[in-house]
Amino acid sequence: MNYASFLQLHDELSLLALIVILLIYDTFANEAKMRYFQPIAILLFSIHTLLNCVPRTSFEVAGGMYQYVPMLTYVKTILNVGTLIVFLQAHHWLNGASSIIRRGEFYFLTLSTLLGMYFMMSAGHFLLFFIGIETASIPMATLVAFNKSNHKSAEAGAKYILSAVFASGISLFGMSLIYGATGTLYFNDLATALTGGPLQLLAMVFFAVGLLFKISLVPFHLWTPDVYEGAPTNITSYLSVISKGSAVFVLFTILIKVFGSMVHEWQAVLYGIIVLSITVGNIFAIRQQNLKRFLAFSSISQAGYILLGVISGSAMGMSSLVYYVLVYGFSNLAAFGVIAIIENHSQKLNIKDYNGLYRTNPKLSVVMMFALFSLAGIPPFAGFFSKFFIFSAAIQQGFYVLVFIALVNTIISLYYYLLVVKAMFLTNSDDAIAPIRSDLALKVSLVICTAAILVIGLFSSIYNQINVFGFGM
């Protein structure tokens, strides 16, 4: 076996090196030196992001177990930037009294999940895929339970790990059925080996459950609101953007690459799941008072929209999906960033606590408004363009009714997004949240998100650039 070819795994190796460095630093540095831990971690991670942002040509390692396509670089960069924003937003919270002792763990665990996602996305074999998805899941559960002394956080961690393990079990069962039916787990071989018999269909559905669970699609979404609510807010935003984004991408590639022969079947499955997710997510979102639960349901419905890119199964579907993840990521991170800072300062999380926020915190309110408008898909914010592209992709494949249902749902979603905007801007309140001075890291993160929301849609070159590699799928 040619071990030198492992050196081609730039992304994973540099992330692994980063994790090891940070672990050593965290273990051996004294209290004085730990003051620089966060800036250094953020800096090193930025360097890692920059080093790995240039697409290379496609290659395979270990006989196709690890596969690289240029699109992966885009997706990984999007995830890296998203993670970076989460780090910036978590900076202040981690320096708080209860979590300062564990700040090193936070970086270590988060980056470990990211490494898992890297492997999961680059996998060309179900074994590597499974290792990846579990590497992403298990540290995630500890992150969810990060505030272990907090009852809700601990409960959320337990719920997450229990449901995740259960879903993984089903997924693993699906994979074993695949092996039983075909005798191989290599994606390259499976593409021809799978023919669409009943056993294989059962295998496909069971396998997909693991990913559908991670993307939190109906009916595998039930853990989402509880976990989102209980987890520390920064973890929630990581979970809703990074974890979800990577899983959607993998779902797309595996469905196309491996289960290409069953395209009609999985399209029918996704059809139902999309309708259910968008609708159920919306219907529950309307009722929520707690903003984290509210965004949990909103993200379930957003996941439904993202799947429109998967169901179209075309090159345009791929590019519009990546574009959607990019835009959704920035919008959601901006919204969670605002929620996190307000929660940190005032412990307030309900929509009605936001009454009159514009008077006391105009900048945060405007950022929040932009983020919600972008999530709702109002032009000229980026969210409009991402919805536009993903709808076009689905229309191109003839899913007219589906797109119509999705459009009706955008109207419903507009209603509940506007509820928050209304609370912030129109409703007056005597005990509005006091003015908050945010720290530099958070400011930077919000400026990046806002700029992205405003600018991404207007520069057509961004979409075009993604599109170039969409065809390479």
Binding site: F166, I170, F206, V209, F220, L222, F284
Partner: protein, 633 residues
Amino acid sequence: MQYTLLILILPLLSFVILGLVDSKWKAQVAGTLGTAILVTVTLLSYYTAWEYFSTANITGSYQRIIAFETEWVRFTDYLHINLGILLDPISVMMLVVISTVSLMVHIYSLGYMHGEKGFERYYAFLSLFTFSMLGLVVATNIFQMYIFWELVGASSYLLIGFYYTKPEAVAASKKAFIVTRFADLGFLIGILVLSYYTKTFDFGILTSGNASVFASTTGVTYMGISVMSWAMGLIFVGGAGKSAMFPLHIWLPDAMEGPTPVSALIHAATMVVAGVYLVARLFPVYYVYSPEVLHGVAYLGAITSLFAAIIACVQTDIKRVLAFSTISQIGFMMVGLGVSGMGGHHGLGYMASMFHLTTHAMFKALLFLGAGSIIHAVHSNEMSLMGGLRKHMPITHISFLIACLAIAGIPPFSGFFSKDEILAATFEFSPYLGAAMSFIAGLTAFYMFRLYYGIFWGVEHKHAHTPHESPLAMALPLIFLATVTVFAGFIPFGEFVTNDGAPYEIELNMLVAGISVGVALVFILLATILYRKESKIPTQLATTFAGLHAAASHRFYIDEVYLFITKKIVFNLVSTPIAWFDRHVIDATMDGFASITQRISVLIKGLQSGDVQNYAYIILMGALVIAGLVIYF
């Protein structure tokens, strides 16, 4: 000449900065910053003009230069929207005109708007407007022009409605926006039709004289009219809206509710000539492919000009007189374009129109700024509250007089030269039209001197405070513009701006000049007799021609016609049924969605129980049900 990009970027930057700081800075700091940026923009424009006119004439005619261009949106290989900067004689000329007038207004406003609430906002809007207008004139393609065209409309809406607590100002800003936006619909359809057939937005390709571009339009007609006439006619509708051509002029007089310096900038020198500029920009297309539209432009210009001149004779609000005078003068420019031919002496009308645009911008800005100075002093727009001001406000008086002489067409002031060229071109096109325009020129002299005498002569009115001359910040622009007005006529304009780019030697047509000066003098004399001292003749005349006077005072009831059409016909016959449909069908459906959604959400909330065992059960059942469905269907 990439530095021209700064001419656009700087005002935009100024808008962003001033808009963001809002009231956090001291008002004067914001004003000074805005003005300083505009000084830079103006100097850059002048430098651009100098460099362009000294280097672009290589082969005996001025070349068009694309100073900057980038592709913004690509629809197809041939149809894409670019953003760029096009330099050619008229765009360079407009850069100079716009930046000069805008600078004057910026300086003037430092005095005029002093102490107003929202001073920074005012300067932010001024910058936005300047940016939009500059972007409009340097557009390399018709779509970029349209984008900036709309930006101009939006920023003028903001400026007219600057005093947003005043209901009249709010109504006026809405009116201006709606009327011009309505006209822009025509513009947009025109653009789409034109680009559909020619497969390009680019001005360079459209006006290159390459007949193959228009090949697909030959023989295509719609409702008996050729498709090019439709396209160019519709595009002109947009121009007519912005340039306040009859019957779309109704917004301009009302727009006088905005601050007076804004009127000088937008409603005298820049935005209202956008329509003229549009026709000039597409002139080769009009001339070759839709000459009947071009002639229509000429006649519509003449009608508007006459119509507005008559109304101006009986208005009593000084800004309204100036507003109608502006409409009338833009009519002149349209006539000039409409009667023009292509190249050399045939292109006289085009050159004259652009010349008049320039000189008019200067003296009309001067008149408006002078009016602002007067309003500042007596706190009213009504002529009846003025009179005898010449003793109190010498600078305003002299500069105003210079501007009146210029607009009346008395040599050697600038208006004489430019208007005379338009008349000469018109006489060559049609003697009748020429005679009519000479008469309108006479009317111009009459109403301007009626205004002049009414303000500065006659009986002095009792004022709470004695009127006084304006501060230096306001007087300086007056002096500068007056100087320009005196000397601008001697610019050999034909050397720079012609429709084929080749320099052309202007000759004074002595016969036409004699007639027009004679007519102007007669009408000035008439105004002197009637209005210099208080006399009973005007009232007698008004009673003798009671019908005409009343009609003109009510601006020929055009506003009433609009109101009748909108309120009685459109509202009752179209809007009411649609509103009913909207409320009882569309809204009811939506309400139905909402209540169904609410009900479902109550029904299924039990699913979200919080029990993790339950969740696992549903995951398993979900997987089994889906698998079952997939396998058995």
